[in-house]
Amino acid sequence: NKSSDAGAPSSGSSKGKKVTIALMPKSKGNAYFISCKNGADKAAKELGVDLVFDGPTDPDPAKQNEIIDNWITLGVDGIAAACENKEGISTALRKAKAKGIKVITYDADALPDAREFFVNQATPQGIGFTLMDEAGRLCNDQGEFAIITASLTAANMIEWQKYIEQRRAEKYPNMKMVALRPCDDLKDKAQSEATSLMSANPNLKLIMAICSPAVPGAAEAVKQAGKVGQVKVIGLGLPSENRRYVKEGVTDSVILWKTEDLGYLTIRAAKAVVDGDLKPGATSFNAGPLGTIEIKGDNILLGKPFIFNKDNIDQFNF
């Protein structure tokens, strides 16, 4: 997969030549985006697209801006970006649009006027509601829960929290969120945080980990505290990192979409936009093996969040 990191540049963007599409993760070295990239690689191969994959090594809106600017001068044909921060990146994306580069976003959106489409794996609302529904189901709308997040400043997590709270207030008023702790996107820190959350809140029923390293971290903490079953763990994460805990019954469910499909769909959509096959106003889009995908407004909908549990987790290998 390194070849596409450093693939030979294709000069010129005229039709007929190989199309170059640049794909930006929020940060590199994150298993989630690596998995997206695997899907993207597959699509790129099928479509004969030259894929550039690059992003900041740590989530940093300023660095994202810088890389977009670089791509503009590099003269790519299309950009697909997962935005760390709505406002921060939109300026750069608008500039790209003005230069005739087709821009779409995936995973986390920019401002609507800065891109053509957003490949929406699941709306923040969908994620927030699903998480809370799952929590409510596991706890029977009863008791305390805590959230472990990546950092207090991560934009999409802030958004999810908003919907989690909204759903709680609406449907699960008997549940109480007792704490929100950041884990700096580190599994080890999540483990420590979960440990002290449990001892500080003896009535804790459930830990909701909303960044991917936090789910196995929290699960390990619960396991070590000997509170399996007593404190439930749910979260957003990759099946591969959580398989062990889900099968052991420590983690009850992991919520995610099929990340490879997200990457795949993103590249498919980007290519279609670049080729002019996908235009604003379209209501559906043929994504090859993924079938026909619904488009709502300017959101290309991948589908609902997927709930991985004991029964189905073995079917997924990402």
Binding site: G29, L152, A179, Q191, S199, A225
Partner: protein, 308 residues
């Protein structure tokens, strides 16, 4: 008072613990405390090394990158089904090699440690990211807790860290090698003239620091069935802060491991204490900063009063 700093940190810790006992007695439960101690044991090991390095009038900010590399390498070796008796020394060796690279650049070429380790920190970190792309390493079952039961494993980790602390603390005071570190940190040229080779001492200090990081990484790896390639992030600032709060002078030659130990305990307790006191987590960094500043300011005011 010779041990003012150590005592004042210990008192601050005591104050925190008493406050917790009154406001949040739930803090004192054996299992979570054991967990906390186990989680902080690797940090303590690194802090011991950091204390040595700072006493030697150097600094090492590359420990987090070394920690991550050792963790991942140990994880990969373990997942190749190698037994722990090989993996553990291997991890220590890898750490020692990384430390030696710092040592060669710093002691051999006489380059400033803060810059050298800044450079190696960036280089190792990015190289590891490039190679691993953030992927977790899954370990075979017999690695966690050395294949022992959980509580036996936890006690082993704690025992190793505490033993190391005790042995090192005694060595630093009672063994010539330890005094050499103080001597070199106090005045390298005077050491040279006294027949102590400052370059060798500095080199060995860094190599030893690396070995300790390797050991610490291993102590962390055995605590869970997966290795996060970002393990150890931030450990350099935490240990430097702890060591300095504990009274080791950044200008070298002064301080001891007991202070560093007290410093680590204090910093390690902050985060769980906030959770127990139900203080919102967005205050955490600010409080940490305040504690570092208060510790050094208290000391500063004391020395100022003493000299004015």
């Amino acid at each position: 008072m010779k041990y003012f700093r150590e005592i004042s940190v210990a008192l601050a810790l005591l104050a925190l613990l008493i406050a917790l006992a009154i406001v949040a007695p739930a803090f004192y439960q054996p299992q979570p405390l054991l967990s906390l101690a186990t989680r902080e044991a690797p940090t303590l090991i690194v802090a011991c090394g950091m204390a040595l390095v700072i006493i030697c009038r150097q600094i090492d900010i590359s420990v987090a990158s070394q920690f991550a590399i050792c963790s991942v390498c140990a994880g990969l070796l373990a997942s190749m089904k190698l037994p722990l008796v090989i993996v553990l020394p291997a991890s220590i060796c890898i750490g020692a090699i990384l430390g030696s690279i710092n040592g060669v650049l710093i002691a051999g070429l006489g380059l400033p440690s803060i810059v050298v380790t800044l450079a190696t920190m960036v280089t190792w970190r990015e190289a590891l990211r490039w190679q691993r792309q953030g992927e977790f390493v899954n370990l075979p079952d017999n690695v966690q807790w050395f294949g022992l039961s959980q509580s036996a494993g936890q006690w082993t980790v704690i025992a190793i860290a505490i033993t190391l602390l005790l042995v090192l603390a005694v060595c630093m005071n009672r063994m010539a090698a330890g005094r050499f570190v103080y001597a070199v940190g106090s005045d390298a040229e005077a050491a040279r003239l006294a027949g102590i080779p400052p370059q060798r001492v500095t080199f060995l200090t860094f190599a030893f620091m690396g070995a300790l990081v390797g050991l610490a990484a291993m102590m962390n790896v055995v605590q869970s069935p997966q290795v996060d390639p970002k393990s150890g992030t931030g450990i350099e600032l935490k240990t430097i802060a702890a060591v300095v709060v504990g009274g080791v002078a950044i200008s070298g030659g002064r301080g001891n491991l007991w202070g560093a130990f007290a410093g680590i305990l204090l910093l390690a307790c902050i985060s769980p204490a906030l959770t127990h006191l139900h203080i919102e987590s967005y205050w955490e960094k600010a409080i940490q900063g305040m504690i570092i500043l208060l510790a050094v300011v208290a000391d500063g005011i004391r020395t100022k009063r003493g000299s004015a």
